[in-house]
């Protein structure tokens, strides 16, 4: 009888030890996913590991903070206040975005321009009341589009913009947000995380099992499921294309990427541009500007700055142009050409 009790006891102990180990391991690879609507888009955040709950919660708060600061739709946002007052003493985030935007404007020879906002409004992309503006209206609004007319004093952090100018960080804000969220993950010692902010993907580390993240690139074509899949770690993958936001009038489709030089939706034979690099802010800004540039200019731009990023271009014939830095980690069933530096 005594023997029997001993046995029962040892089975009990074994079970408790097993369950404890199990729960411990579970906590280590636990993952937390949060979804939210912010910045006029849908976002998904996933983090793995011990502090994932706290990290994702902090990330959501950061996104909401930046949304409140940068939204053109809110009367109270810093962006709206500067656009209304035409001057202001800038917050750290606004000042950083302004500096990066001015750099990108220079770097891309004006293809990236945060002052294109009056045209976004005229086309109805700001308030979703879509319309085709007249040629004279576009021409007159184009005179307000010029980043060089923004005067920003780095020592006092003061900005002054021309009377008719409007600034919108829409082409860079989500990328900046994903960079900031990645920093929060680092602060919480998260080794593995991924966020998708309305199609802008940013990864932190590798997947929890140590393998690379596999990111599919959306195809604008109904008969092609995906342009391909790229395997990455610690990088942002950001795609710009005319299929994201658009409207149709008299059988013509008008999309939301406006060329700051013509005031018209970009129409140059490219259907999407994907940028792959560590810095989400730059990836976001470049995806828009290279889409504006068109294939030939985008390729020469990459050749001049190949250390900064890699890219995948897709043209109207559904042919891909892939830069050599990612040729090993990109797989596709479509026709493609590798772009080499030399």
């Amino acid at each position: 009888m005594k023997e029997r009790w001993k046995r029962v006891l040892s089975v009990g102990v074994l079970m408790i030890v097993g369950i404890t180990i199990g729960l411990f391991l579970r906590d280590d690879n636990k993952s937390v996913t949060k979804n939210l609507f912010a910045m006029d888009t849908y976002m998904e955040l996933t983090a793995y590991g011990r502090n994932s709950e706290e990290a994702v919660e902090a990330a959501v708060q950061e996104i909401q903070r930046l949304d409140a600061l940068l939204s053109t739709g809110s009367e109270m946002s810093e962006v709206t206040i500067v656009n209304r007052e035409k001057k202001g003493s800038l917050s750290e985030d606004y000042a950083y975005l302004l500096k990066r935007s001015m750099e990108l404007w220079k770097l891309t020879d004006g293809a990236f321009d945060i002052t294109v906002y009056p045209l976004m409004q005229a086309w109805g992309f700001a308030d979703k009341k879509y319309r085709v503006p007249s040629v004279t209206e576009i021409e007159s609004l184009l005179t307000y589009v010029d980043t060089s007319k923004i005067s920003y004093d780095e020592t006092t952090n003061e900005v002054v913009i021309p009377e008719q100018a409007q600034i919108d960080f829409g082409g860079i804000a989500k990328g900046y947000t994903s960079s900031m969220v990645a920093q929060i993950m680092k602060k919480y010692h998260i080794q593995s995380a991924m966020f998708n902010l309305g199609g802008n993907v940013q990864t932190v580390g590798t997947k929890a099992d140590g393998s690379l993240w596999r990111i599919a690139i959306k195809s604008p074509y109904d008969n092609v499921p995906y342009l391909g899949v790229i395997s990455i770690a610690e990088k942002a993958v950001i795609t710009s294309g005319g299929y994201e936001r658009y409207f149709e009038e008299d059988g013509i489709r008008y999309h939301h990427i406006i060329n700051p030089k013509t005031g018209m939706p970009v129409q140059n034979g490219l259907v999407s541009v994907t940028i792959i690099c560590e810095d989400g802010t730059m990836a976001d800004g470049l995806s828009t500007s290279l889409f504006v540039m068109g294939k030939e200019t985008a390729i020469s731009f990459w050749k001049a700055h190949s250390e900064m990023f890699d890219m995948i271009l897709c043209d109207e014939e559904c042919k891909l142009y892939v830069t050599e830095g990612i040729k090993e980690c990109f797989s596709t069933e479509l026709e493609y050409e590798i772009i080499s530096k030399y």
Binding site: L14, G18, G22, N35, V201, W213, I215, I217
Partner: protein, 123 residues
Amino acid sequence: MFKKKDVTLIIAVLILAGLIAAFLRIYSGETGETVRIMIDGNEYGSYPLGEDSVIEIGNAFGYNRIVIENGEVFMQEADCPDQYCVEHKAISKTNETIVCLPHKLVVELHVQNREDDFDSIAQ
């Protein structure tokens, strides 16, 4: 020291623990082919991808009709202004989503791991 019976018992206990763990994993919804509908960040419901069905949702945001058919999901109808969700092609792979932004509605797919899976979609 250990008798044969003890060893048998230990193995039996471990197998039992393994089965319980496996059950918990399945129960936690990590595997299996499910269509999950989220509204404003909260789960509205989960539906098996293998069973054809029509899900109609009408709430303060608006009306959406989601159809599950032959292992695919698509938005058949919605009264949102932009209609991007209705124009979205049918989804059938894990981590694919259809988003109806004006109605804060998301249809997500969670399918068991396959060769051609991916973790997210850049768009």
